[in-house]
C-alpha cells in the first residue's frame, strides 16, 4: 500500500547495505562535529534566536533592503541585474558571457545554479562551464547531480573517484588516496582557473548596508576563480539578503559550525567593488521566493541559510540518500522547498519524515522544518501520498491491537513501517526497549495494582 516515489527509490538505495551504513555513519560524524562545536559556545541558543529574528526581519522587509543593496552595490561600481525566474537568470548570464566572448567559465558551488539548471544551458551555448568545488567537480565529471547541498559527493567512494581521475586526469591506476587525488584535482583545476575568461559564485549573504556579497568556502575555489578573469558574476536569491555587517557576526558564527563542525570556513570573502580592470555583475533572483513569502504557513522556509545541517541529522536522509528525493535539494528542507516549487511532482517526499523534529532542533535559523512537513501532510488532502501516510498511520494508531502488537513484538516496529510502504524502515534495528511491556500495558498493570 501507498509506496511513494521516495520510498521506492529508498528501497533501491537500501540494497547496498554496506554503503548505506557507511553513508549513515559519515553523516552522523558530521552531526557529531556540529554538536561538539556548538557546545563550545555558551550563547549558542541565543545565536539561533538572533539568526531567526534577523531573517524574519529581513525577509519581511525585502523591498527596502533590496533597494538599499542595489544602491550601495551600484555605488561600489558593481552592475546589478534582476531576474524574476530561472529563465531570466540563465539568459542574463548567457548574455553576459556571450557579450564578453567567454569560452571558458569557472564557477563555484551555487545551489541557485542547480535550481536554475545553468550549466546545461551554457554548454548548449558552446561555453565550457567548470564546477571548481572538488565535490561538485567529481559529480560533474560523473554526469551526476549533488546528493547533498554542502557535501555534494558524500555518497561517492574513494575508489570511484580514483577510477574517475585516472580517466579524466591521468592519475595512477589504483591509487585512491584522498590526498593524492585532491592534489591531482588541484593541478588539473589550476589550469582551468588560469585559462578562465569569467568566474561566477553564488552568495551566502548579501549585505544591504554595504552592497557586498559574502562567499564562504573551505577550498578557496571561489577566490581562485574570481581573482583572475576580467568578468565576475555573483547571483543570489532574494532570501540571501541580511541587513548589515552586524548581522553577519551572527550568521558567520552559526554557518560553518552547523554545516561541517568547523568554527568558521577557511575563506569568508567580501566582494563589493570590481577588481581593477574588471567588471562585477550581481544578479538578484526571485524564482518563486516571493510566492513562499506569501504562504503564511511556510514563509519561515526563507530563513534557511543552506547549511545542510538538517540533512546530516535526519534519520531518513541518512538512510535513504539524497537521490531518493525527487527535488534537487533533499532532506527536510528539500521536502518543504519541493512542495513550494511543484507539489504534484514532489509530494512523495512528504513520506520521508518520521516527525522526530531533529531537523528543527539543529536548524541554525530555526526553520520549523518538521512542523511544516506535518502541515503539508494536513493540507494535501487529495493526494495519494497523504492518503497512504494517513491511512497507514491511522491503521496503526487507530488500532490498539496493531499498535501494541507492533511495539511488543520488537523488532517488529520497523516492520510496521515497511508494511506501510515506508521502505526506509527496512534494514533498521529497532532500539531495545527498557521494558518489554508497552506503556499501555504498564499503566493498566499499575491501575490493577492500585
Amino acid at each position: 500500500m501507498g509506496n511513494t516515489k521516495h520510498s521506492k527509490a529508498a528501497a533501491k538505495y537500501l540494497k547496498d547495505s554496506a554503503k548505506v551504513d557507511w553513508q549513515d555513519e559519515t553523516l552522523w560524524l558530521v552531526r557529531g562535529k556540529r554538536d561538539r562545536l556548538s557546545k563550545q559556545i555558551p550563547e549558542w541558543e541565543q545565536l539561533r534566536d538572533a539568526a531567526s529574528a534577523l531573517k524574519l526581519y529581513s525577509n519581511s522587509h525585502l523591498p527596502e533592503l533590496l533597494e538599499q543593496f542595489e544602491a550601495n552595490a551600484t555605488a561600489n561600481g558593481a552592475i546589478v541585474h534582476w531576474a524574476k525566474d530561472a529563465e531570466e537568470y540563465r539568459s542574463i548570464i548567457g548574455g553576459l558571457l556571450t557579450a564578453h566572448g567567454v569560452k571558458h567559465f569557472v564557477k563555484s558551488k551555487s545551489m541557485l545554479s542547480e535550481e536554475c539548471e545553468l550549466v546545461p544551458y551554457l554548454e548548449n551555448l558552446g561555453i565550457e562551464a567548470v564546477e571548481t568545488d572538488l565535490g561538485e567537480r567529481i559529480i560533474q565529471l560523473m554526469g551526476l547531480k549533488p546528493s547533498h547541498i554542502v557535501l555534494p559527493a558524500v555518497h561517492i567512494k574513494r575508489q570511484e573517484v580514483g577510477r574517475l581521475f585516472e580517466k579524466e586526469m591521468g592519475t595512477e591506476p589504483g591509487n585512491c588516496d584522498p590526498t593524492y587525488l585532491t592534489h591531482a584535482a588541484r593541478r588539473n583545476l589550476r589550469e582551468k582557473f588560469l585559462g578562465a575568461d569569467a568566474a561566477m559564485t553564488g552568495a551566502n549573504f548579501a549585505v544591504a548596508s554595504t552592497g557586498e556579497v559574502v562567499v564562504c568556502t573551505n577550498e578557496g575555489n571561489a577566490d581562485m576563480g574570481t581573482s583572475i578573469p576580467k568578468l565576475q558574476i555573483a547571483a543570489f536569491g532574494i532570501d540571501k539578503i541580511v541587513p548589515d555587517r552586524e548581522s553577519l557576526g551572527v550568521f558567520t558564527r552559526l554557518l560553518a559550525r552547523t554545516a561541517t563542525g568547523q568554527p568558521v570556513t577557511t575563506y569568508t570573502t567580501h566582494y563589493s567593488a570590481p577588481r581593477e580592470g574588471s567588471e562585477f555583475h550581481i544578479i538578484i533572483v526571485d524564482n518563486g521566493r516571493s510566492r513562499i513569502l506569501a504562504d503564511r504557513e511556510h514563509f519561515k522556509l526563507l530563513n534557511c541559510i543552506r547549511c545542510g545541517g538538517c540533512m546530516n541529522t535526519c534519520p531518513v536522509y541518512r538512510r535513504s540518500g539524497g537521490y531518493s528525493y525527487s527535488h534537487f535539494i533533499p532532506g527536510p528542507v528539500g521536502i518543504n522547498l519541493g512542495m513550494e516549487s511543484d507539489p504534484e511532482r514532489h509530494k512523495g517526499n512528504l513520506a520521508a519524515c518520521t516527525l522526530c523534529h531533529s531537523c528543527s532542533m539543529v536548524c541554525p535559523a530555526k526553520v520549523d522544518l518538521a512542523d511544516q512537513i506535518y502541515r503539508w501532510r494536513q493540507q494535501w488532502h487529495s493526494s495519494a501520498t497523504k492518503k497512504a501516510v494517513s491511512d497507514g498511520m491511522s491503521l496503526v494508531m487507530g488500532s490498539p491491537w496493531m499498535l501494541n502488537t507492533g511495539l511488543s513484538v520488537a523488532p517488529g516496529g520497523m516492520k510496521v513501517l515497511s508494511a506501510l510502504g515506508l521502505d526506509w524502515g527496512k534494514g533498521r534495528q529497532m532500539p531495545q526497549f527498557a521494558s518489554q511491556k508497552s506503556l499501555n500495558k504498564m499503566m493498566k498493570e499499575e491501575k490493577d495494582e492500585q
Binding site: 524574519l56 519581511s60 578557496g220 577566490d223 581573482s227 552586524e246 568558521v264 575563506y267 570573502t269 526571485d286
Partner: protein, 163 residues
C-alpha cells in the same frame, strides 16, 4: 514592467507580517570572551591546520618545510574564537597572491586580536573598502570520503607571524 518592478510588486503584495529588527546588544555583550585572547587565537589557528610563529627571527623555510613558493602579506586583525584573520585588498600585488602560492604567511600585530565575530564586524563597521577577506588556516577539503586534505585550491600551508 521591468523584472525589478515585477519582483518588488510580488514582494509587496505578499502581505508578509512585518517583523521588527532584533536588538543584538545583549547577545553581543554576553558572547564568548577569553582571558587570554592570544592563547585562544593560537589554539584556533593550530586547530584549523595553520601555524603561529613570532615574526622576529621567523624561519620561513623551516616553517613551510622547505617550500619555496611562498608569499608574505599583511593582516589587519585576528579573531580569537575561530583563528581567522582579516585582510584588506592587497596593495602593490594582485589579489590572487592570497591564494595561488603553496604557502601563505600573514603578518599580524599580536595586540590586534578581538574575541569573536561580533567584535570583528563592529570593528569593520558598516563601510566597505571594495574587498576584504577572513582567512582561517590553509585551504582544505573533505570531499573525498570526509578525509581532511589541505591544499584544495588555495594555499596548502598558512602561518601567522606575530609582531
Amino acid at each position: 514592467m521591468s523584472s525589478k518592478e515585477t519582483i518588488m510588486a510580488a514582494l509587496r503584495s505578499a502581505g508578509a507580517q512585518a517583523y521588527e529588527k532584533p536588538d543584538l546588544s545583549a547577545l553581543k555583550q554576553g558572547s564568548i570572551h577569553y582571558e587570554d585572547k592570544l592563547e585562544q587565537f593560537r589554539a584556533a589557528v593550530t586547530a584549523s591546520g595553520g601555524k603561529v610563529a613570532d615574526y622576529e627571527g621567523a624561519d620561513l623555510e623551516t616553517l613551510f618545510s622547505g617550500e619555496k613558493d611562498l608569499v608574505v602579506v599583511e593582516g589587519v586583525f585576528g579573531v580569537a574564537e575561530n583563528g581567522c584573520v582579516w585582510l584588506n585588498e592587497p596593495v602593490g600585488r594582485p589579489r590572487v597572491d592570497y591564494f595561488i602560492h603553496e604557502a601563505l604567511a600573514i603578518v599580524l600585530d599580536r595586540n590586534e586580536i578581538v574575541d569573536n565575530m561580533h567584535e570583528a564586524y563592529a570593528r569593520l563597521g558598516e563601510k566597505n573598502e571594495g574587498y576584504g577577506i577572513f582567512i582561517s588556516g590553509p585551504s582544505k577539503t573533505a570531499d573525498i570520503e570526509q578525509s581532511l586534505v589541505f591544499g584544495a585550491h588555495g594555499s596548502r600551508m598558512v602561518a601567522i607571524l606575530l609582531k
